[in-house]
Symmetry: D3
Subunit: 225 residues, 6 copies
């Protein structure tokens, strides 16, 4: 690399006003903990900047009460509302018909009229995550919200082909994110797994935009204002 880099790194001096302040955004995750891992810092930041943030947990396959409690604690840490798509008891997403799942998510769009929806990515390989990603495509026909995908969420790192295009500076909310992940004790500490890799990963993402910590999102569609 032969080019000189004499200039200072100058973080863009952009408006502090949040893009979604005063509006509602909806984040959809297949299971408890997916949203905290995938974009917990972004959700906390959106909430602090004045958006109404609704976390939608699509299903809880087992340990229903425990995981519901952990999900509530996670949302509380982030300061966000929490909605269970199937609050009646343990369900597996693959036991739901696609048309029913789309219909439930259509209902979310109608109820919350979101300015933005955040969902799983097509680069994920967990079947339930892909079911949610796929079901979020047709709901785009109902209204013109922005649509983003967050990084594939795993408890252990596996190489995935995800290319974030939009970055969110989460330097102010990284601790909230880590705490919210920690709320899911049954998934981490309970299995002897450590969550520190999420902090390291946010740090690498932060390097892409010259801030301490960031989360990366792929852009499905958006309106530029």
């Amino acid at each position: 690399m032969k080019r000189a880099f004499e200039t200072e790194v100058r973080p863009a001096r952009q408006s502090i006003t949040s893009r979604y302040a005063g509006q509602t955004v909806v984040a959809i995750g297949a299971h408890p903990d997916d949203l905290e891992i995938g974009l917990g810092g972004t959700l906390a930041k959106l909430q602090r900047d004045g958006a109404r943030v609704v976390m939608v947990v699509a299903s809880i396959p087992k340990d229903f009460d425990l995981r519901m409690t952990e999900a509530r604690r996670g949302a509380e840490v982030l300061g966000c509302e929490l909605v269970f798509l199937m609050p009646e008891g343990p369900r597996r997403l693959e036991d739901i018909k696609t048309c029913e799942l789309v219909s439930m998510l259509d209902g979310v769009v109608r109820d919350y009229q979101p300015a933005a929806v955040f969902t799983h990515s097509s680069a994920d390989f967990h079947n339930d995550h892909l079911l949610i990603y796929n079901a979020c495509q047709p709901i785009q026909r109902l209204a013109y919200f922005d649509l983003f995908s967050y990084h594939p969420t795993n408890c252990r790192p596996v190489p995935v082909a995800f290319h974030p295009k939009a970055y969110v500076d989460i330097s102010d909310t990284i601790e909230a994110k880590m705490d919210a992940i920690g709320a899911h004790a049954s998934q981490f500490g309970g299995r002897g797994l450590d969550t520190e890799m999420y902090r390291e990963f946010a740090r690498m993402q932060g390097r892409m935009i010259g801030v301490p910590y960031a989360e990366g999102l792929d852009v499905g569609r958006m309106q530029l204002h």
Copy 2:
């Protein structure tokens, strides 16, 4: 298609405050008329919403004085500043070394410290357009601006594989766009070519977000605020 669409189309009620108000954005085109065709409506809108908009025309291969005059008229219609990267006379981009072209564009970044840069797309097939697209990749290392690509620009329609991700509602500036394109008389009327297809195309793009006219952009990288 079996799904019901009972709901009204509700344009998202988002802040009227422009993302780039009070900041500088830079749009780079290989030749005069590329910026007007590719994102003239967006540039006019950004300017009206309070951004400083700098149009950079990289080269004029021939008819130097005529095309410089047309470029000035186009920028004037859009209300934007105009900069010629090579104002000294007719030049072809392929006669410039890549390292020199990158160096010139590095200079643009240093001079204007843009919050966003708009450039050609990798889906374009005009060699000069690709040279500009490629030269805009390394300038990303200098600072953390948003980077977008506009639709391939042609005088006649040819199928291209361009997928816009970010849409700009240009319903208020479509006439400015059409007028600015019209300023390049030597490229259209002078050849018996009509510019109406750009209006039709903006209308199809508008359909994607439920507004009369829009322009679509691909997202290279951006920060979400």
Copy 3:
């Protein structure tokens, strides 16, 4: 864009004899109205040029009698034969096993020995459309017909990553297409939806080959004669 375009646009002077005249072509759609929206103009043209055109409607999820009547009217307008894959009553495609769906489509290939098959595209995001697309892949093993995909079909425009490679001039059959779409009153007028965007879209596609109206197809495989 600096290149001169002094020449006239000359539509290629190609044989008026249809590629499939005297042969059978099969078009497969997930539901009534998909074929009219996706390639109604092409089907009408193929029929007028001497091909036997068989429209296969895979399923009717609800309003069985009404939609069957609309499908018959649509096919009548286009002058094509109509076959229901599951004529016995309302069915959802996701309730059919993949191996059964492939087996039914194998039967279509055996019964009609088509020279060409037209199906949904992998760029579609409606789950039922994808089920049909996927089930059309293995039927290729049975015989050597041409295989094409038509544009994703929606009642409202949503950005999709579909790149047509083969265009059909439907200038003579655009009205038949619009009428055939209109036959599906329950899907459009009945919901307050307008169908004019399909005409606009055919006009944009027509621009790609220099004719008033066209439909674009992706090529799965074909033999060149």
Copy 4:
């Protein structure tokens, strides 16, 4: 693989009339022997079926007289016309400016008004082949001919990511193809290289459509008649 394949393989019974009979097609290759290797069987077949076939050899980098003589012999074997884009002496394609190369190919389109153009593929890795491929993209703006790409051409097999979509049955012209390749003695026998792999490769392609020998093409754009 569990599915039954009880049916006979039935080659599609399509019209013997060639798609391009009575019209002109142009095939463009970077150097002598590229067209014979890439689609010699197709060219011979098109000629036999009544098309005027023009082989355009873009450049001869060295051994000018010898390779010109071989190129003439190759075209003669296939029964096609031969045109040298730079007949004045040895030239390397990378020494020609892109705008000049496009201009020369524009001239070919104007002179021959082709119904189809065949060129190198973007999957090729020889720099000169890519220069020809790229220069063939903008010539599409001049008129509405079909555009196809042939398989990357090499003297030794190297894995490439080329997916043919359109197949041509060359069972009747495989010997002409092999003879035409053999005309380029300086490239094969003269180096101790054998050409038999081209026959084997045509045989594998033939398997894809159930005929003894075939060539595969990618589709840039085409009109379906």
Copy 5:
């Protein structure tokens, strides 16, 4: 092609010691005969070079006893162990829940602690093959084995978009492969189908690395030692 190829083809002089000697590798196929067709030569070679090779047949949809017998004969010819994932009777993969299928394959990883896993490819279009491919993605989280995909397996050739990156020289085991395929008489001879195309295909693959016969694999992930 103008470049000289004066050098001899020199097969790389690499260690004869197998990468997986003394370790266990697992190959997973949807049905009997998939592994023999996809990588029979590789499995025989791995076994001869000192690896423990476990062939996992996921399901037998019908003709249970006959196909079980054929599978045993195929594995015997290759010298490999054979495991049936569902030995209790005829099952279709699409009748198994994804989470159960992943759970069964998790069990395989736990039981055999493989150094490498070979599975179907995402370029395959048989639904059952894709179900296996997809279910093999999440098992990567359990341990750090190499993961490869073999060529789509069909009884008749259909074009697929598969690009092998890693080649295995099977010149010494091509006859074992052909014999192992032949063991599945019910799928080939019993249907009047011939298996010779697999030999031809291995020969074309061999050309890519300069050996008589080869099999090509795509690389999911691997460690380089």
Copy 6:
């Protein structure tokens, strides 16, 4: 994420014998420091495990003596041989004709008969890096070596679409890598740039295979032994 991960992470117990022990491998970088950044840990490991490792630096655009000295120091730290493709003085790669660059790299293949070649990636955006990547494609025709690409190399992090498929555990050579990068003082310390991000990045890559530090490579082609 609902799946249990009860098992221990077990690093694969594979042979300590290096794949390339006793053979020659060649790594090609556009400028001094590219190889140290891209795969310094891998090169040091290959050398320690018994391979002859040749680092080829293609060009030095300016500060010739200084950067040559730094390159020598970097190679020395890694324990590898160093070759300058253009040792006669400062040169820019874009001033070299492609055919000459390929010819020089052909010479490297003939001289060293490598078992493996490591080069830049197509995901890189530095024009000189891409020139080297492209020129390494045709040299594959000369002999059957493995071909790998290393991660795009930058002095500042910019998002790139690079997907490593093959990982090398560099836990034992991470310090050598960091020291070798540090040898290029004119590129880092001299500009006020810090190199610590390369350690962090190697740590994230290490997480993918469960080791402290790793480097990721893309696979162009390889033989599996």
